[in-house]
Symmetry: C3
């Protein structure tokens, strides 16, 4: 009766993390989930409706492999969007695909999220500095009550748009929303991604706006990564922006072993004279493929948060891990 | 080793809802889960024990497709019945079936629930007025700690009974319970259902009692629906009863397209002179089958709640949706 | 793409429990989950990496079959170990197995837990007195942030060790931990198990230590069970120890029907002159196999908790149940 696939990722790492906050350092030994990708399990399926049309669904739950805890629903969007117990915290949608592209209805990654990490070296992982210091990674990645449309590819170009309903209109306030867009180009060794997301929360006067521009170029002997990010109105504060960039390189030593390195820098820009934090970090990593579904990884990342007149805050992580896909 | 089926329903609708409460109206644009059937996923299986006997299990969790949130356990029955985090909020049972009928142990739909919506037109959906205004749909649909028995069919007749244990006996109070019964008859174009459920909560002196009588008749060119409902001691209040009915029709335009309409009315009956609310509403809908497992639907429902000396409360919903079964 | 097994146990019992606390008795009629084994569902899989090496994962969630409620994460280990909503409350790990033995990373049963109930008669169930009165069954059975290693079997001997990280080091306190060990021997009719677990919680000065020694001998006509347990520093209290033993027998009447009986006794040993509770109980049970995956069970257990100068507390349970594995 049913053609369902149960799938997922089990990703765990062992390591040492040194955190310095307010001049006080603590080094802890850790076993943690999701070094490269978040651990997850899901159910998905597809039904052929004829004429090239398909009905699709994806139900996907995040969890922490290290302790079995559920990734619950965080506040994603003002209004009716759910928080609390999740059945499927990552994706929960039904939709159609065909020659016209793909439509999804429910909860899915925004169009911006599709391209957010596409040009992030060191496997866009917990060893990548961009994931620790960027402000433009602080967007709502998968709000509920959403509609998503992706075009087919035209001569290397493709695009997507998603719109999330706040469902929180009152007699005096219009509904909150998240509108998200991407445009990508891929041809031979070159790939370019652009993303833009506007978060309108009806309890704030100003929208928070996220911009991402990324590119990768594969020279064969090495693959280069470059990323630019910008946030306008950080936390809906019209006096608070941030700008940032990341550069990196993958170096394939053998067909199984890849080395990678990344450097990232982010600066606050505050028009009201408030202190502007700056952040920078680097990461180096290696991945070693054991099979089509399993690989080992390891590396080191060091990140510094420069505060005004006080000691820098720091975060260093040394990690080795394994990811198994099923 | 295992013969397990993973199954479910992904049902989502997009629409506009106008809610009027206390004379204040708000119209909201929505993406919501479960327009026709609640979204769910489950695991089920059956083992042949020989001699016509089978061991069966069903584990089924409800969720909201629009935001991935889990349907947790609401208060179902005074006493030990669980509330809070659900693994399987809809059904969770093991049992046996064979020539004697079927027995289930755990959490399952009550015998009353089996017949509750069987004669409700407009697909017994969120477009059906009965589901917005009936008092006799406010029973405990699937309490835990339950035992269920269904007879085989004898000459078109069948019956079922379920009993749910409160597990809350004290030195002074006897245990709460829910006892539920149904009797059905089906022959050719005619189907008749009767259901009765008694909810005994040991913190109240009086039991709440729910009665359902329904019938459908399929003329081929159209199918008629009629439903009667009654609640004695609404909310365990011995001065508070309610009576209600619903009539409707399905009209199959083509093998894929069905139109449906329904009208429902419900009246409070209060013996202590308190104000008696009355409710009425109608719904119209269409369903269009895309495949064995996928259909589109749409429609409109309008419901009015008449209060004493104040403006009527209202709820209108315009919706289009899709349901995919897997 | 995926070779995943969805599996589980649906175990439910119906019965009568009489609980006497402080001289007051209440008898309740119950439908409960997990008479012999806790109800659970899970996803697991294995990938052949070549050279005898395999990658394995297990994700397993506990639930109560009687009401569908989720077994959430209890406090397991001071520090970062998760409490609250569980995706997988029982096991959540990825690892490798091969000629070297097996390694697991994540959340899994401790080495002590592997042997805890191996010599417990009456199916190590809710009808077994050891599970009601032993102090040495009160260990942390499956803390998160854990690493586990089991040796292969050498001439009947095998061993395992697990270590759980508290991840809660501060500038003044070292991290909590749980270290757990087992050693087993099996040859012909004889099986012997030894387990030891040290729980170091950094908010207490003293470690709680659990010791288990068990043996079974299968005479063919009957199988004997004997268990010894000890806790040093119950609840991390250095003046509070406990010692206990259990003996039992299985008697296979036919290939389908097994009768079993068990007696257990446990005594507190307090060096500060505080009152020393003593506990004793017995259980008798029967299991009847219906198929490879389904069996019926029933029995009775009676347990007494002797308090100083007050009436004994008591717990008696009469139960019949069914377990179905899938």
């Amino acid at each position: 009766q049913s053609s369902v696939t149960v799938y997922g990722i089990a990703d765990v790492w062992f390591g040492s993390a040194k955190s310095t906050v307010g001049g006080v350092s603590v080094r802890d030994t850790l076993l943690e989930s999701g070094g490269v990708n978040s651990s997850r399990w899901g159910i998905k399926g597809s039904e052929d409706l004829g004429g090239g049309l398909k009905a699709n669904f994806v139900l996907e739950q995040g969890f922490n492999l290290d302790d079995g805890s559920s990734k619950d629903l965080a506040t994603k969007l003002n209004g009716d969007d759910a928080t609390g117990s999740a059945a499927f915290s990552r994706q929960s949608y039904v939709g159609f695909s065909g020659g016209f592209g793909e439509v999804k209805l429910g909860k899915m990654w925004t169009a911006y999220d599709d391209v957010n990490g596409a040009s992030d070296a060191v496997f866009d992982s917990k060893l990548s500095p961009m994931n620790w210091i960027f402000a433009s990674t602080g967007y709502n990645s998968n709000p509920g009550n959403s509609i998503y449309y992706a075009t087919p590819t035209f001569g290397g170009f493709a695009g997507a748009v998603s719109y999330s309903l706040g469902e929180d209109k009152t007699t005096t306030l219009s509904a909150s929303s998240i509108a998200s867009y991407n445009l990508t180009y891929a041809a031979g060794p070159l790939a370019v991604q652009f993303g833009y997301q506007v978060e309108d929360n009806n309890t704030f006067a100003n929208d928070a706006k996220f911009t991402r521009l990324g590119a990768t170029y594969d020279f064969g002997i090495a693959k280069l990564y470059a990323t630019y990010g910008k946030v306008t109105n950080v936390g809906h504060d019209t006096t608070f922006d941030a700008k940032e960039y990341q550069i990196g390189v993958d170096y394939p030593v053998t067909s199984a072993l890849t080395l990678s390195a990344s450097y990232a820098k982010s600066d606050d820009d505050r028009s009201n004279g408030a202190f502007e934090e700056s952040r920078k970090g680097y990461g180096i990593g290696a991945s070693y493929t054991l099979s089509k579904r399993t690989f080992l990884y390891g590396g080191y990342t060091s990140n510094k948060f420069t505060n005004n007149g006080t000691a820098d805050d720091k975060l260093n992580i040394l990690a080795v891990g394994v990811q198994h896909r099923f």
